[in-house]
Symmetry: C2
Subunit: 340 residues, 2 copies
């Protein structure tokens, strides 16, 4: 039988109330007694029965998700997954609130975060723009005791508890490994198109990509990164201009959104075939894969990311550490051949 709080009380020679105080970090216990209790916990190998604990504290955890609005397919997909999680809320003792801000508008994100009352928020997940004001807003929440996780795009300098997203440097390295092998025979330039260098996920991908390209595939040189602002029209414009100005482009790595614009340019283009690696499976990128405009799409599963964010926030709200290995978000690589 697993030991219970009663067993601890008995072996520590204290009352149940004291054990409870120690276990839940309540005040009013002398250090000497705390030690005795903690020693009993270790001796018996006590672990709190979470089912019973959750039952007893019939607390619900109000969580806030902050996402960009706008037409970005990936973000809409992410929003959909958050809404799915909302339907599961009653079972998970969460109350999820969804807030959206203008894409890439750091001040708007900061304002939204600053507007949150720590008293009625148990955790915050946000898609971050890597900017001083967002860092400050996040750190404010953390210092007020509200755990924060970043979703999809990280905020490295901040005090966020966890980043729920893929390893973007590794993703960029993967993209480079694929690109280099796909375009092994033809020397030339590879165009890199990002959304914004203020997004740490885009930064990470770009640097991982550049790193591997330089070291492993010297016959290919990098052009960019250009900033397409995750916007199809802007992407079409900048890519179109780059292709017009550089006849020796053999590949494109699109590490941000706005792939619709990219496909429009590519499919209208004549000339030798380009090797294209992009991110996120959406209707557009799926079609581009199927039609042979894209060679590979690197994808992250929004559903996993949202579920992971919730698990981590709940764990932190309970003062626990999440299981690291379980919270790793993996990369999916799709070719036209293995599209789901």
């Amino acid at each position: 039988m697993r030991p219970t709080v009663h067993d601890i009380a008995a072996t520590a020679g204290v009352s149940l109330a004291t054990v409870d105080r120690v276990l839940n970090g309540r005040s009013g216990v002398r250090q000497k007694t705390i030690d005795r209790v903690e020693q009993a916990v270790r001796a018996l190998g006590y672990v709190r029965d979470m089912t019973a604990a959750n039952l007893a504290r019939r607390r619900v955890y109000p969580l806030v998700f902050v996402l960009p609005d706008g037409p970005n397919s990936f973000m809409r997909n992410l929003e959909h997954e958050v809404r799915q999680a909302m339907t599961r809320s009653p079972h998970e003792r969460t109350a999820i609130k969804l807030m959206t801000t203008r894409p890439l508008d750091a001040e708007a994100i900061a304002r939204t975060l600053d507007g949150l009352d720590p008293k009625d928020v148990a955790g915050v997940a946000l898609v971050a723009v890597d900017t001083a004001c967002v860092v400050a807003a996040v750190d404010r929440l953390v210092s007020l005791g509200v755990p924060v996780v970043t979703l999809v795009s990280d905020l490295p300098g901040s005090r966020r508890a966890h980043f729920c997203g893929i390893d973007n440097v590794a993703a960029g390295r993967t993209a480079a490994g694929l690109m280099g092998r796909f375009a092994r025979s033809t020397p030339g330039k590879v165009l890199v198109v990002a959304g914004s260098m203020r997004l740490s996920d885009h930064m990470g991908r770009a640097s991982g990509f550049a790193d591997v390209m330089a070291r492993e595939f010297p016959h290919l040189s990098i052009l960019g990164p250009l900033e397409g602002r995750d916007d199809a029209l802007a992407v079409r414009r900048v890519v179109g201009a780059a292709l017009a100005a550089n006849s020796d482009i053999v590949g494109i790595y699109s590490l941000g959104a706005g792939n619709r614009g990219l496909v429009e340019v590519i499919s209208a283009r004549t000339g030798p075939r380009l090797s294209v690696v992009a991110h996120e499976v959406t209707d557009y990128s799926r079609k581009a894969l199927a039609e042979g405009h894209f060679d590979a799409v690197i994808n992250q599963d929004c559903g996993h990311e949202v579920r992971s964010a919730i698990r981590v926030l709940l764990a932190r709200a309970d003062g626990l550490d999440p299981v690291k290995a379980q919270e790793r978000i993996r990369i999916d690589i799709f070719l036209r051949d293995n599209l789901p």
Copy 2:
């Protein structure tokens, strides 16, 4: 507030005991009353609070994992993850028992399954060999009310509740997509090396691979699949012989285990470089990637698979359906550039 059994009793106009009888399928309730209760359940949208239920019925679920023994790194890794899960057992109200059988020995697996007493087993996970006698043994357990899941390698014709593993056809297709693009410039043969065609995962990979190769990369023809019995020595022998007999081999797809033998042959070989795609990250395949002998390794995360198997078995033991989207096991693709 979520409705509770009390609310149901009230709106159905029956007592708590009757609600309990209906909810838990106990006898002694008239059909008319059952209907009333079930209607109240639907009307209120009642869902059983599993934390409370689990607390009340302090049941532990004895699970059995059946794996092959032997030196196969992947299987040893899988075993390690099962042992990890055993350490978490107390939190998950499981009692995991690990049993091993000789690799590829279908009769031994069947014997092991037949030896299980349904009374003290709440669920079984096994790495299946696709054979009539294993199917029969699995179906026997299922008919006795013991849920069974297949792990890593499926048993398509059986009554297993779920397959905890990757989509192996998609994996084979992915391998083909990569191989075809890696070896785009040079026509020739691609050697396929499997462990055994009695393993449904190997079957799936081989067929997905062949499918895409034939359709998309007609300049490459398939040689094999050879059977290396997941054994390094056997792999070395068959691959060595094939390479000696065919000077026009440009790539190798190793879809089973025994990669150590493959690396030995490749690294000793002189001549033009081969494109190699293999499965499972192990010490050997990792080294082969780093040294450039392998181009890509397709990996499945044992930890996820084991955790998923446990979740599914527990859900089935409670008569629930697992959350399908959550139980999808993803494929990791590693190049030397993104090795973790």
